[in-house]
């Protein structure tokens, strides 16, 4: 248990580094999406620095676990973990969204090492994950495919097509994670387009559902372990999160969905993330 406490503490520390990188990147870029990056930072940190099997020096290693960022607009988070994980130098993060950079405004698998799929048009990542999971089953591979979806994103009909598919083909090597931060571009999800009852919906589609506090590192690790053990059906982790988590003036503020901090805001945010 001592060991686990240390793992959690280290991951929490790592998450703070990632959050700082995100703020700095977005400030440098002058545009981008703060809220959703910060709400899913703890989950993605746990994945990349504890749970996933991958080799930064061999990005195409066939046995690697795959992470598909279906909510592609939160790619600064992915770039931050990939750089921290050793896929490319951290100094390159400040080129985000700039001409000539390999760090596009939304994920481009052909430009950035470690990015598994080009996403950005919402609702498509889970289908890609299904294809990779199916290919893995055909080849008797033991990797798991993780897909991170936004809660607003699941209003896209294609998500439910993919949900049916994963269940129909018994893709127990898929784990969908929903960043349930309750806010989308135009406002709260329950006002823009109700997605509840979320648990019942996924259960009805044949998925194992695990609900957690998406900022509690212990719950995140437990959920990822349980998901991996599930047989014969896919798992969805519904992670209840706070949009803008970690920066007081961004938390639960819908206007921070698609906005970058100015110099003063970035400094204030960084001072809170020490």
């Amino acid at each position: 248990m001592v060991n686990r406490a240390k793992i959690i503490k280290d991951l929490q520390k790592k998450a703070r580094i990632i959050r700082r990188d995100i703020i700095q990147m977005l400030y440098e870029a002058g545009s981008g999406h703060c809220g959703g990056c910060l709400s899913s930072t703890d989950i993605v940190t746990a994945l990349y620095f504890h749970h996933l099997c991958y080799k930064p020096d061999n990005p195409d290693w066939p046995e690697r676990d795959r992470f598909i960022l279906s909510k592609g607009h939160c790619v600064p988070l992915l770039y931050a973990v990939l750089a921290e994980g050793g896929y490319f130098p951290k100094g390159e993060l400040k080129t985000l969204r700039k001409i000539g950079s390999h760090l596009q405004g939304h994920p481009d698998m052909r430009k950035t090492k470690g990015v598994e799929a080009s996403t950005g048009s919402l609702g498509q990542g889970l289908s890609i994950a299904c294809g990779i999971a199916l290919g893995g089953k055909m080849d008797k591979k033991s990797y798991t495919v993780y897909a991170l979806l936004g809660d607003g994103e699941i209003q896209e009909g294609q998500v439910w097509e993919a949900a049916m598919f994963a269940n129909h083909y018994h893709l127990d090597n898929i784990v969908a994670i929903i960043d349930r931060n309750r806010l989308q571009v135009d406002g709260p999800t329950n006002k823009i387009m109700t997605i509840e009852p979320l648990v019942d919906k996924w259960k009805a589609f044949g998925w194992k559902v695990i609900t957690i506090d998406g900022h509690d590192m212990s719950q995140i690790l437990d959920a990822l372990e349980k998901a991996k053990e599930t047989k014969d059906r896919p798992t969805v982790v519904i992670a209840n999160t706070i949009k803008g988590k970690g920066v007081s003036f961004m938390e639960n503020q819908v206007n921070w969905h698609g906005k970058a901090p100015n110099k003063e805001e970035a400094e204030k945010a960084l001072s809170e993330l020490t």
Binding site: A117, T119, G131, G135
Partner: protein, 319 residues
């Protein structure tokens, strides 16, 4: 006479035997697209996605990322309109090795009517960067196109038809992606066609010959990348060009040829195709006749463009 979709079904089975990485996806129309033949032979490599074309394209993309060579099939209108965003963003943008083979292109779909006929698929797919667009003329060429598509690493759209069409190529006819074939020589006018209109163009060339007009016929099986060199060559060798396609005259083969002619070698030009209108239910031959996708229309248009050319020359002489 044989439909290109029938040839596709056979080609897939042959490919399935020789290439273990070939997998096939369909969206609940496997009987109609003929992918059912592959499904029966290789059940472990066939995945029915149900009525969910958007997800099918994403699954195909994912499968390609594991080294499989997915063939995703449905009707042309659904592959290119219903699932367009998925094809663009998930397949074409990252240049994934997915083969989209759509049947029921054009109006020869017939009785199902305009909702299931496809008039704009070539235009749509042609406008997407990284996408190759192929429209085989007959069953023999379809088999070649399907087999060649596997040798190319990247996204390809192949448009096939529902109706039976005459065989106009043979097993020795060359087929290389992006290299069109002159299938009849002539030095008065060139008819450039694709798909079912290749056979119709050959018929038109025979009719023109009776009037003393020698027509060259080009089978432009690859719409993109278009064979620019051949277009320039035939534009030099003949006085005018007529393009015939079972597609809207906006954006398809005619537009692709016109782009080359306007940019490189301005040439008198006419189009035979759907005049920016939806068709209706009916028998294929009735629809083709009603919308002027016939040898007679090509003959009329060829005569017209040659006549206008003479007019131009007379004016030139007068001045």
């Amino acid at each position: 006479m044989k439909s290109t979709r029938d040839a596709y079904g056979e080609a897939l089975v042959e490919l399935g035997k020789s290439n273990k990485n070939v997998v096939v996806l369909d969206a609940d129309v496997s009987k109609a697209t003929r992918t059912k033949k592959f499904a029966e032979q290789f059940p472990g490599r066939f995945f029915n996605c149900g009525c969910a074309e958007q997800n099918m394209m994403g699954v195909a993309a994912g499968l390609s990322l594991t080294g499989k060579i997915p063939f995703a099939s449905t009707f042309a209108v659904f592959a290119t309109c219903r699932a367009l965003d998925q094809v663009r963003n998930t397949i074409a943008y990252p240049r994934l090795n997915v083969k989209i083979v759509a049947t029921h292109g054009g109006i020869t779909v017939g009785a199902d009517g305009p909702s299931h006929q496809s008039l704009e698929d070539m235009a749509i797919m042609r406008a997407i960067p990284n996408m190759i667009v192929i429209v085989p003329a007959d069953a023999i060429e379809t088999k070649k196109a399907v087999k060649e598509s596997v040798k190319y690493e990247g996204p390809i759209y192949i448009r096939l038809g529902r109706a039976e069409v005459p065989i106009v190529t043979n097993k020795d006819s060359p087929f290389a992606i992006g290299e069109a074939n002159v299938i009849q020589e002539g030095d008065d006018i060139t008819i450039i066609a694709c798909g079912i209109m290749v056979a119709v163009s050959l018929e038109a060339a025979q009719l023109l010959e009776k009037e003393g007009i020698k027509a060259k016929v080009v089978n432009m099986h690859t719409i993109k990348p278009i064979d620019e060199d051949l277009i320039i060559k035939v534009a030099r060798e003949t006085k005018a060009i007529v393009v015939a396609e079972e597609h809207n005259i906006i954006g398809g083969l005619g537009s692709a040829v016109a782009e080359i002619l306007c940019n490189k070698i301005p040439t008198p030009f006419e189009q035979v195709g759907m005049r920016d209108t939806f068709a209706e239910s009916g028998k294929p031959e009735e629809l083709l006749a009603k919308h002027g996708l016939t040898a007679n229309t090509i003959v009329d248009v060829a005569r017209k463009v040659l006549k206008s050319l003479k007019g131009c020359l007379i004016i030139e002489k007068k001045s």
